[in-house]
């Protein structure tokens, strides 16, 4: 989690929402990443997605070679609904997060994607149970440090966000 926090600090230095992520397999760090939504102009480039892409790139896009189910993921903030769904689809191993994400959290704060699992796009509602794969999730790891970074960032608001989207100091991350 210290490595994930270091990634989050790097994001902060680049005017990005300070959330960092590390993937560990067989006791080794196999990928690190951080939020990059402002630089890419892409709201889906969350730390988890960036880190997953790094792993896939190293496995030459081979899903089996990436062995996601044997990986543990550390992220400084609770995975959002999208990321929680992505981690379910990839059959990820245990997930550990720092602070909760009260606005978009997909591991209990807003939706329970980690318990419900996530079907692929195109499944009928009844088919969800068939592809049901959830996540083992623990939260609160180095929570204070994670919150401190987000507070620093939101103190002046996201510089790239227009006024209506600028949250007040101390509110939850995007």
């Amino acid at each position: 989690m210290n490595l994930a926090l270091a990634q989050a600090k790097e994001a902060l230095a680049c005017d990005e929402v300070p959330i960092g992520c590390v993937i560990v397999r067989d006791g080794q760090v196999v990928a690190t990443g951080r939020n990059a939504t402002n630089a890419t102009h892409n709201a889906t480039r969350h730390a988890e997605m960036v880190t997953i892409d790094q792993m896939l790139a190293e496995a030459s896009g081979n899903l089996a070679a990436a062995r996601f189910s044997e990986c543990e993921l550390y992220v400084t903030c609770e995975p959002c609904i999208m990321c929680a769904g992505a981690l379910c689809l990839l059959r990820f191993g245990p997930v550990h997060y720092g602070c909760v994400n009260t606005r978009f959290g997909g591991c209990g704060s807003v939706l329970d994607v980690h318990q419900r699992g996530c079907g692929a796009c195109g499944l009928a509602p009844g088919e969800l149970a068939h592809s049901h794969k959830g996540l083992s999730v623990t939260g609160g790891l180095m929570e204070a440090e994670a919150i401190d970074l987000l507070r620093k960032f939101y103190m002046t608001g996201n510089p790239k966000a227009p006024r209506p989207h600028r949250p007040l100091a101390g509110t939850s991350p995007a």
Binding site: T40, C121, G122, A124, H132, L135
Partner: protein, 304 residues
């Protein structure tokens, strides 16, 4: 293909009814209710199930019983997965409850029963009436986008409806173009397609089709969002001022964020904000305010 007019569809439901979630319940005598509900409020808050009535009076049988929700049934996504350790696994024969609840239940000497209840709050009065048959629900007017849409949808002008049909036709055509990939070895969900529309200009700004054969998370919507981001970067490249900001100055600005007394940092932060405001004033923020049209095919299946 002849497309119907746009129709409002409430979130969290379908023609098959609401999404359900399993809970543990007990039926107790009315005089036991007060004590139990008081203890449950602290031992097991309802959390995301606050739309449900925790207690209701069952009319069937005598004496009258009160049915009470204890907590959610924790089900492992895959019982064979070692990381769930079986610790949170519940079975009908042997419910696994948090320790505080297990004690309460054993004191009552009543076996908990499972029930499937609506997982989300209803978005419309109709849903509320229907879903309350499954488990009583407290009606609260949702202040959500869905409700806004529910009120706005009937007031769409003929022109707006035409536009929506045109965009949907386009994404429909787009999804049909991908059928040739149906035989891909991955068995990916081919056929899904997405376009992103600027509703002010009435034009599509980006599109995408399912690319999960190449990457497990390249769903049509993700591909389209990526395409919108690429377009955005081309039209509004990052301003040189952003890149030229000296690391030392940035460090100072960030350090000074919490302090209004540090005039240098405050001034720097202010200047930066002003610069951002002018350089990005006409630029959309990510995809905010844009519409998304999506065709999801039931033909494909995601397997690996």
């Amino acid at each position: 293909m002849q497309l119907e007019g746009p129709r409002f569809v409430a979130a969290h439901g379908s023609e098959h009814g609401p999404q359900l979630v399993d809970v543990w319940t007990v039926s107790v005598l009315p005089q036991q209710t007060h004590m139990l509900v008081g203890k449950l409020a602290t031992a097991a808050p309802l959390g995301s199930l606050q739309h449900l009535k925790r207690v209701w009076k069952t009319t069937a049988g005598t004496p009258v019983k009160m049915r009470i929700i204890l907590c959610r049934v924790l089900q492992p996504p895959d019982a064979a997965r070692p990381d769930f350790g079986g610790a949170a696994v519940s079975t009908a024969a042997e419910p696994h409850l948090p320790p505080a609840l297990a004690q309460l239940v054993s004191d009552l000497a009543i076996a908990p029963e499972q029930a499937a209840v609506p997982a989300h709050a209803p978005q419309t009065r109709e849903q509320w009436a229907e879903w309350s048959q499954i488990w009583p629900i407290t009606w609260r007017q949702p202040e959500s986008t869905a409700m806004y849409l529910a009120q706005q949808a009937p007031q769409l002008t003929q022109q707006e409806q035409e536009g929506m049909r045109r965009h949907m036709q386009r994404v429909w055509d787009l999804s049909g173009c991908t059928t040739s990939a149906a035989g891909s070895s991955e068995g990916a969900a081919v056929g899904n397609a997405c376009i992103i529309v600027d509703p002010v200009a009435g034009e599509a700004v980006a599109q995408g089709v399912d690319e999960t054969h190449a990457h497990p998370l390249r769903h049509a919507a993700m591909v389209a969002i990526d395409a919108a981001a690429q377009r955005d970067l081309l039209l509004w490249p990052p301003s040189p001022a952003d890149a030229e900001e000296q690391p030392a100055a940035k460090e100072q600005r960030l350090e000074g964020q919490g302090s209004v007394h540090d005039s240098t940092a405050a001034a720097s932060a202010h200047a930066h904000a002003a610069e951002c405001a002018t350089s990005h004033s006409e630029k959309p923020y990510l995809c905010t305010g844009w519409d998304c049209y999506l065709v999801v095919s039931r033909r494909g299946r995601y397997r690996h």
